[in-house]
C-alpha cells in the first residue's frame, strides 16, 4: 500500500490525476483499518507515521477549495518526500492509524 500511495501522490504531483483517486485510496485505507480486528491488520511498519500522515492530509486537503488555495499540492508533495525518505518527517507531525 505504501508503493500504491507513492505512485498516486507522484501521479498527482505530475498533474496526471486529480484529487479523487487520492480520496478514494485514503477512504479505502481508513475503512479497512476501521472495520477489521487487530489480528487482521498488518503489523506496525517502520513507515507507519509517514503513511498515515499522508492519508490524513489527503482526507483534509484533497478537495477543490484547498486546491484553489494552493495548499494541497505543496503539502502532499512534502508528504510524498517523507514517504520516499528524501525528507525526514518532523517529530511533532502526527501519523497514526484510525
Amino acid at each position: 500500500m505504501k508503493l500504491k500511495l507513492i505512485e498516486l501522490l507522484t501521479q498527482y504531483a505530475r498533474g496526471e490525476i486529480s484529487f479523487e483517486p487520492l480520496q478514494h485510496f485514503s477512504w479505502a485505507m481508513i475503512d479497512y483499518f476501521n472495520k477489521h480486528n487487530e489480528e487482521d491488520l498488518p503489523p506496525i511498519s517502520d513507515f507507519e507515521k509517514e503513511f498515515w500522515y499522508a492519508i490524513w492530509e489527503i482526507q483534509y486537503l484533497a478537495d477543490e477549495d484547498h486546491e484553489k488555495e494552493g495548499v494541497t499540492q505543496k503539502t502532499l508533495l512534502e508528504a510524498l518526500a517523507y514517504l520516499n525518505g528524501t525528507k525526514k518527517i518532523p517529530l511533532n507531525f502526527i501519523g497514526t492509524r484510525p
Binding site: Q11, E16, P21, A28, S45
Partner: protein, 152 residues
C-alpha cells in the same frame, strides 16, 4: 445493485505484475500503466476500472491468516478484456461492491494461488483480465477471483 460482466475482446499481452506484500497483507500491481477511474470491490480487494468500465488491475488488502487451504488452481484460462455493465453510472473515485456477504478466501500454498469466492473450476469460464488476476464468470457474474501474485 446489479452488475453484469462480459469479456469484450482478446488481449494479446497483459503488462505488469501482481505482488503480494506479506507484511502489509496487501496486493498491488506494478507498474501502473493506466489511471483508474473507479473500482469494484470484492471483500477488500479493489478491481480498478477505467472510464469505459474495463477492468484494469488489482490492489487492496487480502489477509491470508484465515484462508482455507486448497489444492486446486486454474490450469486453463483465456486472456481477454472484461467490462462491467452497471445499472447506475460509475462515479470517479467511488467503489461499488460486488459481494455484500464476505467471500471465503482459499490459498494454495504449494503454488501460491489465492482464490476469493467459489473455487470450483470444472466447466467454468475463466478469464485472465489483469496481471496475475483471473475471474470465474458464471451467468455474466463474477463468482470468484483467482490471483497468482509474486510474494514479497
Amino acid at each position: 445493485m446489479g452488475m453484469k460482466f462480459r469479456d469484450t475482446k482478446n488481449l494479446t499481452e497483459i503488462k505488469g505484475t501482481l505482488f503480494y506484500e506479506k507484511e502489509e497483507f496487501s496486493l498491488n500491481t506494478e507498474p501502473f500503466y493506466e489511471n483508474g477511474f473507479s473500482s469494484l470491490l470484492i471483500n477488500d480487494i479493489q478491481l480498478e476500472i477505467d472510464e469505459d468500465s474495463v477492468l484494469l488491475y488489482i490492489w487492496g488488502f487480502c489477509p491470508l491468516q484465515q484462508a482455507k487451504e486448497i489444492d486446486s488452481f486454474p490450469s486453463y484460462y483465456e486472456t481477454r478484456q472484461i467490462s462491467v455493465l452497471t445499472e447506475t453510472p460509475l462515479i470517479a473515485g467511488i467503489s461499488k461492491r460486488i459481494n455484500h456477504a464476505r467471500w471465503d478466501i482459499f490459498y494454495n500454498k504449494a503454488n501460491d494461488w489465492i482464490c476469493i469466492g467459489n473455487p470450483k473450476l470444472s466447466g467454468q469460464h475463466l478469464i485472465q483480465f489483469a496481471p496475475g488476476a483471473i475471474a470465474t464468470i458464471e451467468n455474466q457474474e463474477i463468482i470468484a477471483l483467482w490471483l497468482h501474485p509474486i510474494f514479497h
